[in-house]
């Protein structure tokens, strides 16, 4: 006997694309963060924007929460199903609708895999810049929801810098268009508001992406250090010199071991810290920059230095780096991927502090990070079969995140708040900031059905009765006059 809600969905979807049986539901109960599991009441597999819109309207009418999911790679539990809710799986909406090499833009459906945009643009000498490590799997829709970054965001910025326009369906089923085909817009930056909203404002149906010219040359180097701090300090020096490489990444010994075992990029296995720096651009400029970079690196005293001699070696270096998270699965049955930010100047200090915490707790921590951005990814290793191990690992993860806040950084660089960090958000923001966020959320999704419980914890909402004057206004610090 179908529930009335499922019966309504079955008017939209044929049986094969409306999953309500156990095997279908358990397959969607986790995303890339398996510490959380929740079985949805149904999974739908839309193949057109119209189906998505009708589904959202159906949810709105029946007060059923929904979460949109691409390929389920979120590391913060962003696409974890919501209790008594449905999953709208967008992965079949994977068409590139238009690619305009003259205007340098692509209009895509949200289920397109990130790397496929670059593949499609390659023949025009263009690329899509944001390159999360999971770029061969993760979808543009998910990138939009979490404002994803990646190694090359150091130079080019995050996803929000590369989205020109959006067609969206709001949680109440209304369809809207934000932005357009130009970076400049006369309206408030609605696109900027939607990108990174973690699914709380609805679902993107069509996305206009900015493409950039493929750099003429790349020069990629690896340098190994005897201490992690030395690698971190080298990064601070490079930044301070005014050079802006395309990417600067650091891996510690555990992640080097794991990635080498997975991909064999030729990383030095005895390094305490491996620094990867990539310069890119026009040949003459890159050659000049390389001279400066070489001098800076020499001064930082690495014991190993190697430049990728061809495209294959470069690709291997990056493949190793981008496989690091998953490769750590070789070292430990379970781990928590953390994502925090510290000011770049305090990178070395933060790393030492993390190492100290790791020793103190007796828990191994592997470190992989976008050093140029100060974006840390400590991987906290534990064995879920041991009683209390997850809890203990979570305690350490919490201390690392608090460290990031204390250092003047952020609780997330690119993985988002999702389920994982929602309790830390109020530690980073003032109650008044939190309250503003809740107000915006309520205005856009008054019935609280779009990915509820992610990012903003419902139970912890500050009293909304205080709407009116901003607390700072009340305190006389700011005024509207």
């Amino acid at each position: 006997m179908l529930s009335p809600f499922i019966a309504k969905l079955s008017e939209i979807y044929p049986d094969a694309r409306l999953l309500t049986h156990d095997a279908g539901l358990v397959s969607y109960e986790s995303d890339g963060l398996t510490a959380f599991r929740e079985k949805p009441i149904a999974v739908v597999l839309p193949e057109s924007a119209d189906e998505v819109i009708r589904t959202v309207r159906c949810c709105f009418d029946s007060h059923v929460p929904f979460v949109a999911r691409g390929n389920g790679t979120s590391l913060s539990g962003g696409s974890l199903p919501v209790k008594n809710g449905i999953v709208i799986s967008m992965n079949r909406m994977n068409r590139i609708l238009r690619l305009d090499p003259v205007q340098r833009l692509a209009v895509v459906e949200p289920g397109v895999i990130n790397l496929n945009v670059t593949k499609a643009a390659a023949s025009h000498g263009l690329l899509y810049a944001p390159d999360p490590s999971s770029q061969s799997v993760c979808t543009i829709g998910g990138n939009i929801a979490f404002n994803s970054g990646g190694a090359h965001c150091l130079k080019y910025g995050m996803t929000s810098n590369h989205v020109l326009g959006l067609k969206i369906v709001l949680p109440n089923g209304t369809v809207d268009t934000l932005g357009g085909e130009s970076l400049e817009s006369i309206h408030p930056d609605y696109v900027g508001m939607f990108v990174g909203s973690e699914g709380l404002f609805g679902i993107a149906l069509e996305i206009t992406l900015r493409l950039i010219p493929k750099p003429e040359v790349y020069r990629t180097v690896m340098c190994a250090y005897r201490s992690l701090k030395a690698a971190g300090d080298a990064v601070s020096k490079i930044i301070a010199s005014g050079l802006l490489p395309g990417a600067m990444e650091i891996m510690d010994n555990l992640s080097i071991q794991a990635a080498e075992a997975a991909v064999h990029p030729g990383y030095p296995l005895d390094a305490a810290g491996l620094l990867i720096v990539e310069l890119e651009g026009e040949a003459s400029q890159v050659d000049e920059e390389f001279k400066r970079l070489h001098g800076l690196i020499e001064a930082s005293n690495p014991y190993f230095f190697k430049e990728a001699k061809d495209a294959f070696e470069r690709q291997q270096i990056w493949k190793g780096r981008k496989s690091a998270f998953s490769a750590v699965g070789r070292l430990s049955p379970d781990f928590i991927v953390q994502d925090g930010v510290v000011p770049r100047g305090r990178l070395g200090e933060a790393l030492e502090e993390i190492q100290r915490l790791s020793k103190q707790h007796g828990i191994r921590v592997a470190n992989v990070f976008h050093a140029g951005d100060g974006n840390l990814h400590p991987l906290i290793l534990y064995d879920g079969k041991q009683k209390g191990a997850l809890h203990h690992a979570e305690l350490l993860a919490a201390e690392i995140i608090e460290l990031c806040i204390r250092f003047g950084g952020s609780i997330t660089g690119e993985h988002g708040v999702g389920m994982e960090k929602r309790t830390y958000l109020p530690k980073m923001y003032q109650p008044s900031d939190m309250e503003s966020m809740f107000q915006v959320r309520r205005a856009i999704d008054p019935t609280n059905i779009a990915n509820p419980g992610k990012m903003l914890m419902d139970g912890d909402a500050p009293a909304l009765t205080t709407s009116g004057m901003h607390p700072l206004e009340k305190a006389g610090v700011i005024s509207r006059e």
Partner: protein, 423 residues
């Protein structure tokens, strides 16, 4: 991933291997784009990650086997996911062990059972298969009256079988003798393409190796193993364990499916009295391309005119055995041969052992897509190292342009043989 599998309750010698594979998976999803069924069907249950979750559910006794079975049956076992997996999940070991573990507990529709039985009782036995193929040819005109799986099987029956050829038990090395090898003669291939074995023997002999083909060999059991019939697989494999002389440099196989199957013997025989013997044989087996690449090949004669060749990676060679560069290096040694890469080459052609009989729809989609990619290259020949892929790709190339002469499909070693013989 965390699991709550009660290893003792499962009680199979492969339980540890299954639990280990499940706990190694971190659910990152890197396998999704590498999975042919996820590409075609676009749902999580038909992805490697999803299937691991389903197997976990069944092993934890949280999910009824019947719920998981359709999705596990749809897995090609191509192991594209293993190549893509950064965590090193031994998916193949998990899948074979799981299929073996659940073989007796599962229910299949009668037509599927019949097709499965017909395949498993004929393919491994060259004489039976020869008769079955002849019967099948007679039945072709009335294929429409049979249920789908059997119709699919008839569709694969070749319209003409090559004459059977007897393999010499011993072929001496030509020129300076460099060593001696054994040849695993295989089953299906002996009937469908006896020339592959003959070419292998000639190329090995040309390169200074004595070639032994011991009498009494049977199927290596790989086909049964990969569909979960572990008992049958062990029975077939046991026949070959004692046949090869001890002083060989290697035992050569020229079918990727067989090579990968034999290399898994240690797991298949785990806990069996024959385990040590089986593991020993497994260690001696090498694919013909792997072996020829490890020796210095006698130089090949230049071709009369340039030959453009696409090399197709058989999944059981590339993903299961990690052999991708060796065959390419061999082919490049033929002067005048230009090697081309097939777009999306890492995706399975849909042959996958008996998959094209058991899941004809998905197999057709993959086969058509592979044929289109090959045809887009404008090559003279397509080369590969597995008889299953050869049958599948030949069929789909022919279907693509029924009115034209299809691109010839050859085994890597057949191309080498022709180059040596200047054909």
């Amino acid at each position: 991933m965390e699991h709550k599998i009660d290893l003792e309750a499962i009680g199979s010698p492969q339980a540890d291997a299954m639990a280990h594979a499940i706990s190694t998976c971190v659910h990152c999803g890197f396998c999704l784009p590498a999975c042919p069924t996820y590409q075609v069907l676009g749902e999580e249950m038909d992805s490697p990650r999803g299937r691991i979750v389903l197997m976990r559910g069944v092993l934890e006794q949280n999910l009824p086997l019947e719920e998981a079975t359709p999705y596990l049956d749809r897995c090609l076992g191509c192991l594209g996911c293993e190549t893509a997996c950064p965590s090193g999940v031994a998916y193949g070991e998990l899948l074979s062990s799981f299929r073996a573990h659940t073989q007796d507990k599962r229910k299949r529709p009668i037509a599927d059972q019949m097709a499965h039985m017909m395949a498993s009782q004929t393919l491994p036995f060259p004489n039976r298969f020869r008769w079955a193929a002849l019967l099948g040819r007679l039945a072709k005109p009335i294929a429409g009256i049979f249920p789908t799986p059997i119709r699919a099987m008839l569709g694969l029956v070749p319209s003409r079988l090559p004459d059977s050829a007897r393999l010499p038990v011993f072929t001496p090395a030509k020129g300076v003798r460099r060593g001696q090898v054994g040849l695993l003669a295989g089953c299906v291939q002996q009937v469908l393409a006896p020339d592959i074995n003959l070419a292998t023997v000639r190329v090995l002999s040309e390169n200074g190796f004595d070639v032994h083909v011991p009498v009494g060999q049977g199927c290596c059991g790989a086909l049964s193993m990969h569909t979960g019939d572990a008992k049958m697989a062990r029975r077939l494999a046991a026949v070959n364990l004692d046949l090869f002389p001890p002083n060989l440099d290697a035992i050569i196989t020229n079918a990727a499916g067989c090579g990968s199957g034999v290399k898994e013997y240690a797991l298949l025989f785990r806990g069996d009295p024959l385990e040590a013997k089986a593991a020993h044989l497994a260690n001696r087996v090498q694919d013909v391309s792997q072996f020829l690449d490890s020796i210095e090949m006698i130089s090949l004669k230049p071709l009369e005119k340039t030959l453009r060749v696409a090399y197709h990676d058989a999944c059981h060679l590339a993903h299961a055995q990690g052999i991708t560069s060796a065959p390419r290096r061999l082919l490049r040694q033929i002067p005048g041969l230009e090697l081309c890469e097939i777009p999306d080459g890492e995706i399975c052609c849909g042959s996958a052992g008996t998959y094209n009989i058991e899941q004809p729809q998905i197999a057709n989609t993959l086969g058509t897509s592979k044929a289109k990619h090959i045809a887009s290259l404008g090559v003279d020949v397509v080369a590969m190292g597995n008889i299953g892929c050869m049958v599948q790709i030949r069929n789909h190339l022919a279907k693509l342009k029924p009115d034209k002469v299809a691109i010839p499909v050859l085994h890597t070693v057949q191309l080498l043989d022709r180059a040596y013989r200047n054909e």
